[in-house]
Symmetry: C2
Subunit: 949 residues, 2 copies
């Protein structure tokens, strides 16, 4: 087997040698497996070759009714025409039989290769191709007529019925050189980029030929070959494979082989640059060198392989060839960096001071002039108000009404809009977040238990937090973020998720105390008593006869006349209020509310979960699925409200103020710093503030790092220090106004960015759309928060939302966040027998016992955190979270750096400790398309924060 000849690599300058990657996998599924693909090619200065559409036309119907019919097509993957069903198959990885490649090779070796053919039309091309010596003149004429025949295409029109080319093959005329309307209307045309070129392979059996006829043509300038291709794009390559009838489906397979070959990026690259017959054959040999072979006994050759989630890196192939030629060195560490997405935080240029934010400011508004921004605003607005409602409700619960939904709306609006106007990364959405809410609850309990005036105390905490944060900004402490490895993030996230789940359940069960269930009272004389009377003392102050009678003869009260005076049917609370005594077995039950609340709780949880699943299901058009998935929690809340309104039961509802005034009665909008609290409390507040600062810092900065990952290809840079500065200032403002505290919310910000993705429209069947970047601007966020502010007047509507529904949504958020972290997957591994464990890359390189040990340590840390949270020492839990970093540091003595690289990521010192060649080549992420990708390239987005969706 011959390696590609050196000349073809040396002839063009190095800057041209690397074939371009229109193969970068979309970023939606995580960081690109091949961290080099983009930067690498950019650095090497490669010009992209146009995309090639390949069509295989087969000659069918020999000998009676010869006709050309398109039977398969390729852009990246193969689509076969299902003749019976009259549709294109699902795109699949093409598989070939080895002999067909060899037959093709020998046919090309003997055949007619025309490189840079100057033909300008199909007719000219046909004349050139048939201009071989071995053809007799009449055969040549026959062949030319045959080649000019109009082929049958299966063009899937936008309607339901496909439109076929005319069934009768007509003689070629010059009129037919112009593409038809149906060709132009072909939906495939829209998918292909405008610069795309076509390659046409014609194959078949022709009895009149005595020996095989092979021709390969590269056109000098691509030409639209009339009706030859189903889409009217200029053709670059033309390949003819004809011959006398042979056993089996020889020419069909050969045609497929030629098409697959042409669709291979490496072969394409070589074929575009080939200067001789020889170069072409060498490229075929190079292709053969690289093919994957499946043994016949273990794989059915007719099975269709679905497209892999990410295509193999073509960079590697070309680089390996280049290395053979020139031994170009590639940085070894690159693949490992590709895995972590943001790689080493230290290298992050955004953590350096640049001051170049201001120059982008005008474009931050101009760039928003796009329809997509409108839908992004709608989506994020819905998510934001849902968030504001749920957090507001919980905040009201947590602080006994010191803050509430109104404050939540107002604060979200003011803080969010300010941040969007001033921050370094205006794509960030500020929100109340789980950790801060929990801290606020602890702070409130503390101040209630010590009879402090909450809001002034809170103001001082806020002042201190702002101070600390400003110090952190001044000292550029954000670089410390790189010590928060996945271990810490997961511990943090898992704890928060569990607290959400626990709280949702706990509140739900508490409703059963508030609205007790009627249990049957002991049966008396075979029947049950029920009901409740409100009994008043008679004017003499004696109890009514009823109770007297009852205590006298319990078995008799049912059948005898009671002779009651002074009773009413008032419900117990009002009865007590009016000076009566509720009497009867049912006085402490509130029928139906508890179970109905439970039903609402379960319904909203399950409905939101189900809607989220629809997004990845096969049902409904993608627009519908996207809407249902994106608005899952909003829809679940609406369903819950609808059910509640339909039955009209007195379930506990969201408490909303009827007027625009602080929820806590009797306070103005400005919190006075000194009121009932002693003066020294202003200083003492520094202690909880220190803890809160840690929380704010972790929450804010980890989110910022995630949002500014390289994989999102942000052009305008980030602003770690500026953002923290903004958060600190807003902290001061919200504390002074008694509004909730706000930091960046990871999940909702990611949803914001996701809704602003720029993607290439034209994409090959089976290939995910290419990610182009994010529409970076300030306007969408600003509009969202202005709308949120306006929504304060929604209060009359919000009071119809039952609390159990909100608890259900919170359960959903907690479960969703918990499910998304790798830690959960490793906990699941504990329950799986070895045989059934998924083929995770992690498990290939780390012994199972070590994986389990790591998981067990995380579980232990989580347990410890949970215990601390439940004791009176709960307020120090931010410190304990920080303690996770220490535990992680200790783990360096327990696990090897290699293991930690797989289980976690490396801390700055460890990165240095790994020798440069520490990772064996097969440790790099050549990856499979299995689940391991999900795990290893896991977008760590939802690991940190709890928010909508």
């Amino acid at each position: 087997m011959k390696l590609p000849s050196q000349e073809e690599f040396e002839a063009p300058s190095l800057s041209e040698t690397v074939p371009a990657g229109h193969l970068d996998s979309g970023l939606g599924t995580g960081p690109s497996p091949d961290g080099l693909s983009d930067t690498g090619s950019r650095e090497l200065g490669v010009s992209k070759d146009p995309l090639l559409f390949i069509q295989l036309n087969e000659l069918l119907g020999w000998p009676e009714a010869l006709e050309w019919r398109e039977t398969s097509r390729w852009v990246l993957f193969e689509e076969k025409l299902e003749v019976g069903a009259g549709r294109w198959s699902t795109p699949h990885v093409p598989t070939l039989a080895l002999p067909s490649l060899y037959k093709l090779r020998s046919l090309l070796a003997e055949g007619h290769v025309l490189l840079d053919c100057p033909a300008q039309s199909l007719l000219e091309l046909v004349e050139q191709v048939t201009g071989v010596e071995l053809l007799s003149p009449e055969l040549r004429g026959q062949l030319q007529a045959l080649l000019m025949q109009r082929p049958q295409h299966h063009i899937q029109s936008t309607g339901i019925r496909p439109c076929w080319g005319s069934a009768l093959a007509r003689e070629a005329s010059h009129d037919e050189e112009c593409p038809l309307k149906e060709q132009h209307q072909n939906p495939l045309r829209q998918k292909l980029p405008p610069e795309a070129e076509a390659g046409v392979v014609l194959a078949g059996e022709l009895g009149s030929l005595a020996q095989p006829l092979g021709a390969f043509v590269r056109l000098q300038d691509p030409v639209v070959l009339g009706l030859l291709t189903e889409v009217p794009i200029p053709s670059r390559f033309f390949c003819l494979l004809l011959g006398p009838p042979m056993q089996g489906r020889g020419y069909h397979e050969m045609g497929r082989a030629a098409s697959v070959l042409l669709s291979d990026p490496q072969f394409q690259w070589s074929a575009r640059r080939a200067r001789s017959h020889h170069d072409l054959l060498a490229a075929l040999e190079a292709f053969l060198e690289e093919v994957t072979v499946l043994p016949p006994g273990r794989w059915d050759p007719t099975a269709r392989i679905p497209p892999p989630k990410c295509l193999p890196s073509q960079q590697k192939r070309s680089l390996s060839q280049m290395r053979e030629v020139k031994d170009t060195s590639v940085p070894r560490g690159a693949p490992a960096e590709g895995r972590n997405g943001h790689g080493s935080h230290a290298a992050n240029p955004e953590l350096q001071r640049t001051g170049r934010k201001a120059s982008w400011y005008p474009s931050d508004f101009l760039d928003a002039l796009h329809l997509q921004c409108f839908s992004a605003v709608l989506y994020i607005y819905m998510a934001t108000i849902t968030n504001a409602i749920t957090f507001g409700g919980l905040l009201g619960d947590a602080t006994d009404g010191a803050q509430g939904v109104l404050e939540s709306f107002l604060g979200t609006s003011v803080a969010g809009a300010t941040f969007c106007l001033l921050a370094g990364q205006p794509l960030t959405i500020l929100s109340s977040t789980g950790p801060v809410l929990i801290f606020e609850r602890l702070l409130y309990s503390f101040s209630r238990d010590h009879s402090l005036d909450y809001l002034p105390f809170r103001l001082w905490v806020g002042i201190w937090v702002a101070t600390f944060c400003l110090v952190l900004v001044a000292t550029e402490a954000s670089v410390l973020v790189r010590y928060f490895t996945r271990f810490t993030e997961e511990g943090f996230c898992a704890l928060i998720s569990l607290i959400f789940i626990y709280d949702a359940m706990d509140k739900m069960l508490n409703l059963a105390h508030a609205y007790p269930i009627q249990r049957p009272s002991p049966a008396i004389a075979g029947s049950t008593v029920y009901g409740c009377l409100c009994e008043f003392r008679d004017p003499e102050g004696n109890e009514s006869q009823w109770t007297k009678t009852r205590s006298k003869d319990i078995g008799d009260i049912l059948s005898m006349d009671l002779g009651l005076i002074n009773v009413s049917l008032l419900p117990p609370p009002e009865c007590v209020q009016r000076g009566g005594h509720p009497r009867g077995p049912d006085c402490h039950t509130v029928p139906d509310i508890a179970f109905f609340s439970l039903l609402l709780f379960l319904t909203s949880f399950l409905f939101a979960t189900a809607l989220k699943h629809i997004k990845n299901s096969r049902f409904f058009p993608s627009v519908v699925r996207k809407v249902l998935g994106d608005f899952s929690s909003v829809l679940a809340i609406l369903l819950g409200c609808g059910l509640d309104a339909f039955l009209g039961l007195a379930t506990p509802k969201l408490l909303v103020p009827r007027e625009f005034k602080p929820t806590l009665s009797g306070r103005g909008w400005l919190v006075s710093p000194f009121k009932a609290n002693p003066w020294w409390l202003s200083l003492a507040a520094a202690l909880p503030a220190l803890l809160l600062s840690i929380l704010i810092f972790m929450d804010q900065q980890i989110t910022a790092v995630i949002l500014n990952r390289a994989e999102y290809r942000l052009q305008k840079g980030a602003g770690f220090h500026l953002d923290l500065f903004c958060v600190a200032v807003l902290m001061l403002l919200t504390s002074a106004l008694g509004l909730p505290w706000y930091v960046s919310a990871t999940v909702i910000s990611l949803a914001h960015m996701d809704s602003l993705r720029k993607e290439s429209k034209a994409c090959a069947p089976g290939e995910p759309p290419h990610f182009l970047g994010i529409r970076e601007q300030r306007l969408t966020g600003l509009v969202v928060f202005i709308l949120t502010g306006v929504s304060i007047f929604l209060a009359p509507v919000l009071k119809f939302i039952p609390m159990p529904v909100l608890y259900g949504i919170f359960l959903y958020m907690g479960v969703t966040a918990l499910k998304s972290i790798q830690f959960t997957k490793r906990v699941q591994l504990l329950l799986m027998p070895v045989k059934h464990q998924p083929d995770l890359l992690l498990l290939r390189y780390v012994p199972l016992s070590r994986v389990h040990l790591f998981t067990a340590i995380q579980l232990a840390c989580l347990g410890l955190l949970w215990i601390i949270k439940s004791t009176p020492a709960a307020i120090i839990f931010p410190l304990m979270l920080l303690g996770l970093v220490g535990v992680r540091k200790v783990l360096e003595w327990v696990f090897s750096p290699q293991e930690l690289l797989w289980l976690d990521e490396l801390m700055p010192e460890e990165e240095r400790s790994i020798p440069e060649k520490g990772l064996e080549p097969e440790h790099s992420f050549s990856g499979s398309d299995n689940e391991d990708l999900d795990l290893m390239y896991h977008p760590r987005a939802p690991e940190i924060n709890i928010s909508v969706n």
Copy 2:
């Protein structure tokens, strides 16, 4: 490329030429895709070659510390040693690089091939292998010592920690020729069949060699080569591939190529029979001819492909080779028959009279002496009593207590045991089934509406049905079954499932009427009134003052003294019973019961569904999963009962008799044929009986056909006529005793058969266990029904089962049955955009519009049946079901036979109408391993009947 030389195929007699298929896919996933595999090979009289275990030992550590280490192994699929993780990878389809195969070929071509080597030990073998001229004596000595080194194996011990061979390579001694304890304890040993042989491939780089050294040895008699293989089984093949260090991982890949080659059944077969060097190379060429090639640009060569659900048929490969040699013809129709499993019913030999059942009778008891039968009894017993309880409860509902749970138990026991003792197919489990239950309900409504005495009327219906059935038996009408195609079966099944779902929901909602929910009464003076008083008239017959006061001044009643006399707190029903009047806004509400019932209903439904899903999840050991899955409905019932008991609410419970007497009070066990009904009713009963006969016939015979499908490999034959005879006689008996009617229940019978599967224990990693047959006997069924009879005394326990739980289980059964039919999948297609539709074989061959038309017709039929069922004409619905056969017949004019073959199956006449070569070759079921198999080879088991699980 060279085709295999003819000699090697002509030398052995034809009866030996076909390699054996230890590759038959298990039958659990449906009929074998290759209908020929078993019968074909048996007919051709092939002797099976033993299974080959292949192990690749690589020479690592050059030059410092040379050692052999096992790195991969193959039985059917490749398992790679994950060095980092210290475990075997999941089995996967091996992939090779093409150059490695070529390098292997050239090495073998130049190398040393020893066929039928007489070596009796490793030492002898090593001497023979190293006896090549080109080696210098000292190199030979060095090589011999190296080959005698003890290799390191990774033996996964049964405990958690793997045990490694000693880390230090020791010198070979004669003691080490005996396998070690750890080799014997290797769990792989148990998986391999006793006659298995080993093939060892040794590959690596050895710097002292100047040129590559290749050797291939086939041992004359397989010999245990000491410590060379990880399992102490005799080795048949030995392959050595050594050479000077080369670029890349050349020898590793070559070693893998040799191993994959040896693991290929076709190559194995050739290598076992090769008589020269040349034959071996020819076999390698033949292998190359058949490989599947994946293009490098579209498939990552390092991706691991999971084992396909069914292996490609090796028959085809050998047959195609044979055809090339001798042009042996194979019946064309065979693949199509493979699809339908039972193929044409007409060809079914069981429908012929044989009379050979009796000879099996003694073995029907002796064959049951196996532990497996015990667990089968337990499982089927649980399923049967759950069935008896649920159907008994529904029957009690349907007939207003004319029959009930007691009758259900008694009847199941008597009928089932009798059937198991006498029937032709004792694996069948008799049960109440959905269709019969619905008919019984209609019959009861009819007789109630016309004031007939139900049980005597029913007796006459039973007498007539038995008569009709006996006529059907006498005329051998069971052959008509072949007109019931999938269209009819699905219509039948879908209707029944929908009725189940509708009934479950309807009954659940009716509970809300029986136990009304308390809705808030209009608020009076800002507060709500609730409660209910029982008011008696005072001795003078006047109403009490309360109501008078109320009617006078409604706004005042809450705050004023009422001065009531004559009231009690009795619940409304008892109040009325005792002559009082319930008064108050809450008198018509029964708190909590409705919502709690709904919760129980949903809980049992969701819990049963979730448990069923666990069976196919990755969690828990397979035993636990199997138990949870198999007992899902039992566990769901238990959970529901537990919840109900925990809260102790007065939910509606299952009504069970406290004594052993008929549920209907005042009747003896024998139903008298003449009582209140007029004499002519005995004759008129023939009309409903005709309808019921159609139902019974359909239900019984379709089930029987499914149970006796060829894929279950039953040895003792079926008894269509005998079974129908038994059902008819039991019909008479149960009617006379007023017990429910019984026919074969598909799903529970299939579960019975499934629990009696005989499977091969030894199976290669990644390969499903082989199905050997069913433990056919009468004892398990008999014991199950005896136990069911004994369970009548469980009545005191059964009365704790709440009805909503049973409704939930019925919803679950309905949904499960509906989900299992292809019709449902086609309805789902209606909701899927074309792009997202699964790659079903069906859709490859039938235009989507035709598929949708077929589905729409089925939906229309279903709608019509539903309407008929809901009108007073409901009693004729069995006739309408039969009408489906007519509709299906009409469809022959709408759809082509090809389309019907894909969408349905063919009726006897149509089968004749398709020309013999009607199916194009690619229409045969070469299939892919995708979802289409699920659809096309769908085990039609759960399509017919509704039963437990």
